[in-house]
């Protein structure tokens, strides 16, 4: 959350990231009867609370048919509804991706603007929990490469609520990646039902002057932890959260790099063609003159996520990796 948000919406309620997801949906469903919820086993976890609050014609508890119920949502969106599809774990997005990419993302364009697809596709980035390779994917880069979608990855409760509400009100299909690393995170969230966080706007989550660290989705967690630790050593880190991956707010990132001249990118997705790669390429082309050092990229390597946690845990970028990268850019001795 930014300082501007706090002054604009003074009334706050402390809540978790998961509660923010529930509250965003309940508020938007109360505000607009065109908003419907679809997905599997909605009675469990947060969506159970939405299910209780609304009747059968607003909440559609589906069979395990991800591709087709996603398609039903697209058809409903084209005919006056604003569906929120909850797809569970991000790996299941592959099953729905035919309808998301071949239909939802393309139909406004392919019909020459005759159709709109105001649908939201939600999923959880659920990794680091010993559930092996078919449940642990962090696949937002694939959807960043599908034009016509908007992609958001909020990393705190206020952004989660404000961006999800903005997604539901948006006239285009939006894919939402909810990082389980933040599920239990609690912070102050504006209670005003009119509170929205604009899609396409990054946030400077911590101001600093020596090095810019951009954290994508769960990458924000080690980015912020490293910034706090480095401050004690007298190193000033600016932490930027893109929040929206499509459209990416490169202006805010370039502005920060212009100030610090040093950039570390922290991305929990696999390395090849990930969000960090896109940001690094754009900074190299549009901000080369600002750079005092090469851009450093911390990603999960291109490997499947193993079940055994001793193999899994070291794969993701952590606080020590970020500290090491920042010190490398400052020509300081690294602790790792």
């Amino acid at each position: 959350m930014t300082a501007a948000t706090q002054s604009e919406f003074p009334a706050m309620q402390r809540m978790s990231y998961l509660d923010a997801i529930v509250q965003a949906q309940v508020e938007e469903m109360s505000r607009d009867e065109r908003v419907i919820l679809m997905g599997e086993d909605l009675a469990i976890y947060g969506d159970g609370k939405v299910l209780q609050a609304f009747g059968d014609l607003r909440v559609w508890s589906t069979p395990i048919s991800e591709n087709s119920f996603t398609g039903l949502a697209v058809g409903a969106a084209m005919t006056g509804m604003r569906p929120v599809v909850t797809l569970g774990i991000a790996s299941f997005l592959y099953l729905a991706s035919d309808q998301i990419i071949n239909q939802a993302s393309k139909l406004h364009y392919m019909t020459g603007g005759q159709m709109k697809v105001p649908a939201v596709f939600r999923c959880a980035l659920y990794y680091g929990k010993s559930i092996a390779a078919q449940h642990s994917d962090r696949c937002y880069p694939m959807f960043m490469n599908a034009p016509g979608l908007k992609v958001i990855a909020p990393t705190d409760p206020a952004d989660m609520k404000g961006l999800l509400k903005a997604a539901i009100r948006d006239d285009d299909p939006v894919v939402v990646f909810e990082d389980s690393a933040f599920w239990g995170l609690k912070s102050d969230v504006p209670t005003d039902p009119g509170f929205l966080v604009p899609i396409g706007k990054a946030a400077v989550k911590r101001a600093g002057s020596d090095v810019t660290v951009v954290g994508i989705a769960g990458g924000m967690k080690p980015a912020l932890a490293a910034a706090v630790a480095l401050e004690k050593e007298g190193i000033s880190v600016e932490v930027v959260d893109p929040r929206t991956l499509v459209p990416l707010d490169m202006d805010t990132i370039l502005e920060s790099v212009a100030k610090t001249g040093r950039l570390v990118l922290v991305d929990i997705a696999n390395r090849t063609c990930n969000g960090a790669a896109e940001i690094a390429a754009t900074v190299a082309q549009a901000g080369f003159q600002y750079l005092k050092k090469p851009v450093l990229r911390l990603s999960t390597p291109d490997v499947h996520i193993p079940f055994s946690s001793v193999m899994e845990k070291p794969l993701y970028p952590n606080k020590d990796h970020v500290i090491g990268a920042v010190k490398e850019l400052l020509d300081l001795e690294s602790v790792v």
């Binding site: 048919s65 087709s68 119920f69 697209v74 035919d98 071949n102 239909q103 364009y109 392919m110 005759q114």
Partner: protein, 336 residues
């Protein structure tokens, strides 16, 4: 309920319009005036028009890559359809869809999907939307025998049954998915029988008989409007042309010339219906006037399309988003 006299006239008119449109379209394709690919609906006019005449103006349709017949069958004006085939800015999809995607929303066509089976969940989603909004609209999806082997067919039929959606699954079974016959790709030859497994009525109708198709679809529409749930209709039909104009087929022919000739000479839906109309008191002169009107309308559409401007190449980004956020992006020195 059978076709009233004025409906018979309209049915013949629309079938003639499809036939003339396709004949001229194929000629223009061969001459290079139409780019891409061309899938003709000739032979399937009765199935298309019979189904469309059973619908209201505010009902919804999704279709297939063999897309030209559906909007014409639903009563669309021809000018914007022909202009789309020529890639003009006046095309129904502004030159962004083309031959496989002639969706005209002014007559209720939501989309024509060139992903086989891709449009099936969209129509059921429109039906879900009607149910959620409390209207008595229905959603009809045209699909082929090939699409009945896609997961979307089975998943969507199941969900439509579970939720008693006002959906009509209309299979234009033309016996061949490109070169793959029903005989070598379906466990048994009658696609309608698959409905039974989902607790849905399934019926077979002679797809060359426009009256029979209308009656079957009308009954399904009545069921849907009375909240009795979906129906699967299998119209046994035949395409007179190759899957796609100019397709090169290597090896043994997948269908015999004798089979084709039998349909062309004895099972042409236009000739069959003309005989019914003459028998029912229409005069040869009356019917010839309808044929002439169809021919003139197509000629006029070609003239409109030829005189229409091409889109400006720089307009390529338009319609990417209904609500563009900093789109198209700044070039930032990037080429491409």
């Amino acid at each position: 309920m059978s076709l009233a006299r004025e409906q018979q006239r309209e049915a013949y008119r629309r079938m003639q319009r499809i036939r003339h449109f396709e004949e001229q379209g194929m000629r223009l394709y061969a001459a290079g005036e139409i780019a891409g690919s061309y899938h003709s609906s000739i032979g399937q006019e009765a199935a298309i028009v019979g189904a469309c005449l059973a619908l209201r103006d505010d009902d919804y349709i999704t279709g297939t890559h063999r897309s030209h017949g559906h909007p014409i069958g639903k009563g669309a004006k021809l000018d914007a359809l022909m202009a789309e085939l020529m890639g003009k800015s006046t095309g129904i999809c502004k030159g962004r869809g083309g031959s496989m995607h002639l969706a005209d929303s002014s007559v209720g066509i939501l989309s024509e999907s060139a992903i086989v089976g891709g449009g099936i969940p969209l129509a059921a989603g429109a039906a879900l939307s009607a149910k959620a909004r409390g209207t008595d609209q229905v959603g009809l999806t045209f699909f082929g025998d090939g699409a009945s082997n896609q997961g979307t067919f089975h998943e969507t039929l199941n969900m439509a049954a579970v939720w008693k959606l006002p959906a009509i699954f209309f299979c234009e079974n033309n016996r061949y998915a490109v070169t793959t016959s029903v005989a070598v790709s379906h466990g048994q030859p009658d696609i309608a029988k698959r409905a039974q497994g989902y607790g849905v009525p399934g019926l077979i109708v002679d797809g060359q008989d426009v009256t029979a198709v209308y009656e079957a679809t009308r009954a399904a529409v009545e069921r849907a409007r009375h909240r009795e749930g979906p129906t699967l209709i299998e119209a046994k039909t035949y395409r007179f042309d190759e899957h796609q104009v100019g397709l090169s087929i290597i090896g043994a022919p997948y269908r015999t010339d004798a089979e084709l000739q039998e349909y062309v000479q004895q099972r042409d839906p236009l000739a069959l219906f003309k005989a019914v109309l003459l028998d029912g008191g229409f005069s040869e002169a009356e019917l010839q006037a309808i044929e002439q009107e169809a021919s003139s309308a197509v000629a006029s559409a070609i003239d409109f399309a030829r005189k229409s401007p091409l889109p400006a190449p720089g307009d390529v980004y338009e319609y990417m988003y209904a609500n563009p956020i900093r789109y198209p992006p700044k070039a930032r020195g990037v080429r491409g």
